[in-house]
Structure formats: structure tokens, C-alpha cells
Amino acid sequence: MLKVENVAKAFGKHQVLTGLSFQVNSGEIYGLIGRNGAGKTTLMNIMAGLSKADAGKCTAQECKVGYLPDLPSFYEYLTTGEYLDFLLKNQNPEKRNELLSLVELADNLRIKTLSRGMRQRLGIAAAIINDPDIILLDEPTSALDPSGRADVMRILLNLKKQGKTIVLSTHILADMERICDKVGFLQDGLIKRELYVSELNAGCSFVRVVFEEAVAGLMDHFKKANLNFTVMNNQVFRFQLDGADSLETQKVLFQALATCKAKVLSIQNEASNLDSIFQEVCG
């Protein structure tokens, strides 16, 4: 499990991360979503141990971490096989062949002749060379054509099947919806919202209810009504409306709201795909 707690980082006067926290469970693919300059690469560098946080900590619980930077850079005069041999310290040719076959690359290709997609695949092979438990991928599909993206997605899903925990960032939200278990929206140096992608895929929609003040017993009240909900904070509840029974659930929700002791300040529909949620959170 990867746990990030209250991580803060500033470059000069510019505060990039401001006490950010989240956690990724073992075997999950976690997607980091945010605008350009939101701090995704800074966070990745901190998680990979390449950069130090000003405050807070990242704990990977004795796990090995592999990292693919957003613009992986190689020694151009080497071949793909030689580069992996170099990273393996010329000690494990079987491992090199295994990795090359995983990312579907020949071993004699000169790196300077590789396409962007092939470079990303070589980068993924390099990132998993130490058989890490956690793999961090910064923009692994950016600037790739659809077939290149599909190749990378297929490799990532293979890695997930092997039980790897993966954290990736990308601007291509459709890719996130396809492969991520959970996503977090990074804005103003914090994870502003997290959600499980399965909630989107199940055709669920959400209603966010804000109460005027925190009232004891609200959670029990909604549990008794058999409502599916998440407590965002004491005054904000997020209710899930199941796709098929949406109308029925809405009826139950409004009855529960009418009979609860707290005064409702606002009721708001939440967006139900990553693109619209991105606009809502980061727009």
C-alpha cells in the first residue's frame, strides 16, 4: 500500500503541494488528474524518492518503487537490449528478454531510431526492471497515437494482473476510465476529490447535499433508509443513485432528507463522467 500524508512542496515562493494526502491500495491502479502545473510531476518525483518534500511523508511499506518520468530519456547510442542490460548491470539476460517480450520490443533496436510509443514501452520495461511492487507512471500515454496508447494500456493491465500497484497521471481521461480503479483530482496542491471509476461505469449518478450545520445521528438516519452515501465532511454528504433504480432511490433520499433533523442548505447533482467532473473540480 502506498500512503501519502500531508505532503507539501514549494519552489521558491510558489507553493505547489499544500499538505496533500491520499492512499493507494495494493493491486489498484490509481489515476492522478490535474491541470498542467497542478503538481502531478512534482508529486510523482516525491513518491519516487527523486525529490524531497518540504513537509509530510510518503510511505510505501518496504515496497520497491519503479518510476517512468514524463519524458523518459535514454542513452541514445545503445540498443534496447543493451540499455536494459546496463540497468540490470549485465547480470540477468533472461530478465532482459522477459521484459522485452512484455513490452514487445526487439533487443537490437538502436534507441535513437525508436518512435515515441516504442520509447514509452522501453521506459515501462526500465521502470519495472527491479520487479517493483509500486509503479509510478507520469504521463505514459501523452503524445502517443491511438495504437501506441492501446499498447501501453494493455501492458499496464498485464502488470495489474501480476498484482502490481500502479499510480499514473495522464490528461487522457478516457484512458483513466478504461484502466483505473480509483482517481484523484489534484487542484490547488490538494487532492480535491477521489472516486472509484466503477461508480462511473455502473451508470451511477451522485447527489451532493450540504447541510446548514453538523447534526449528530445523521449517518444513522441515512443508513436506516438504506441509502448509499459517502461523508465528505460533517456537513456534506454524497449520495449514490443507482443507475437502474435511480428514481426509486431519489424518492427514498428526499423522504430521508425531509425527516432528518438537519436543515438542508443545498442539493446538487454531480457530474457522472471524468471529463465533466474534471471541469467541475479543476475547471
Partner: protein, 264 residues
Amino acid sequence: MTNLSSLLKKDWKEYLRGNKYLIFSLVLFGLGAMLLLTTRYFPLLMDAMNQLAPGMVMDPQALKQTIGNFYAADMRTSFGLWAPDVCLFYTILVVLITLNIIPNERHRGCWIMPNAVGYKKSQILLSKCIVYSLGASLPVFVFSLIYYAVSALFMVHDLTFGEALIDSVVLTIAMATIVVVTILTSAIGKHPIIAAISIIVFVLLGPDLLALFMFGRYLPTYILSYVYMMEYDLGALIIPIIEIIIMDFVLFKIAVVKLEKCEY
């Protein structure tokens, strides 16, 4: 393989496949040949013709006869004098090629993955220093020996093989030192081009200026003026070489501390 041997293997491939050895050798031998041929055929020839055979240019047969008489006995210059000058010009090229190796690799993020699998920044730096200093200085050694041998064929033959060998070794050490200092200062400084210009100016002017003073014999730059001065006092090299070793060691330590502080 250990980390360092893997890095050395990788850097040699980079050095050879990047054709840097070819550039270094071509420039070195090109400059040497140019100097040799120019000296052989042009400057002294015209002066000598004017003095020894005025009006002879009009008669090709007589010119041929004059050239036959003129070489090799009458050339008044030892060719040993020219080898360090060729190497000084070569230095400019070597410094310009090597100054950007470390900043460029760091800027592009080439070290991220090697660091992640356990290669230390100090090992990466050491490997670069070894490969590029050997790569740039070995052509100097070969060139110097060939240069002395060729020049001995038709110029005043005033160097023994032993002296030529010592000169070649000293020039090789000087070149290796210049490359190491260039790589290390480029890793330390924010602006490698300033470091490179400083090194070039210092290499071109420093030895001659410092040789004017007595204390110049006890500075690292003496190794550059040693060959030119043709004194062949090997004992005089001990202090400069010890200073060079200490200087390289200190620069290496500073560069490693600086690199360790840098984040990606």
C-alpha cells in the same frame, strides 16, 4: 559486473558509437599533418630559396635540385617543438566537446533510471571522467609518437626515442587532466560554457605566462610547458603531478556534493 564496470562499458560504447574518437583523431592528425606539411613545404622553403638561389624559381629543374639539397640537413628547427602546439589547438575542440556531457545528461533526465536501479551519481561521474579522459588523451599519445617519428625522417633529428616517449606520455597526462577538469567543473558550475572558456584561455596562456616565473615550475600548468621547454628533467614533474591528483580529487568531491544536492 560491478556498477563501475557496467558504466564503463556503456560509456565506451557511447564514446565509440558517437564517433567522438574519430573526430578527436581526425582533428589531431589533421592539425599535425597540416603543420608538418606547411613547415616542410612553405615558410622556410621560400626564405631559403631567396637566400640560397635568387632567381631560381624560374627554372623547375634547378628548383628540384635545390629542394633535394635543402632537406633534410639544413632545417634549423626541431620538430619536437611543434607537437605541444598541435595539442593546444586540439585542446579547444576537446574542451568544447566534453564540457556539455554531464549538464546535458542531467538536463535530459538520463540519470533517473540508472539512479533508480542503484547507480550512484559519483559512479556515473567517475566513469565519464575515465572514459573521456582516456578517449581524448590516447589519440594524443599515438599522435605524438607518430609525429616525432615522421618528423625525425626529414627534420633535424634531435630527440631520442626515450625523450619522444616521455614527451608523448606527458602530453597524454596533460590532455587527460584537461578533460577531467572540464568535466568536473561543468558538473560544478551553473554555466559550463564559462568554465570551458576559462579552461581554454588558461591552457593557452597560463603555461607560457607562469613559465616566466620561478614558481611556475611548481604549479600544475608546468606539465603543459614541460614538453615545450625540452629540459627533460623528470623530477620537475613530480610536484605538478601530485598537485594535479589532489586538484582532481578535490574537484571530484565538490562535484559529487553538488550533484547529490540537485533534485530532478
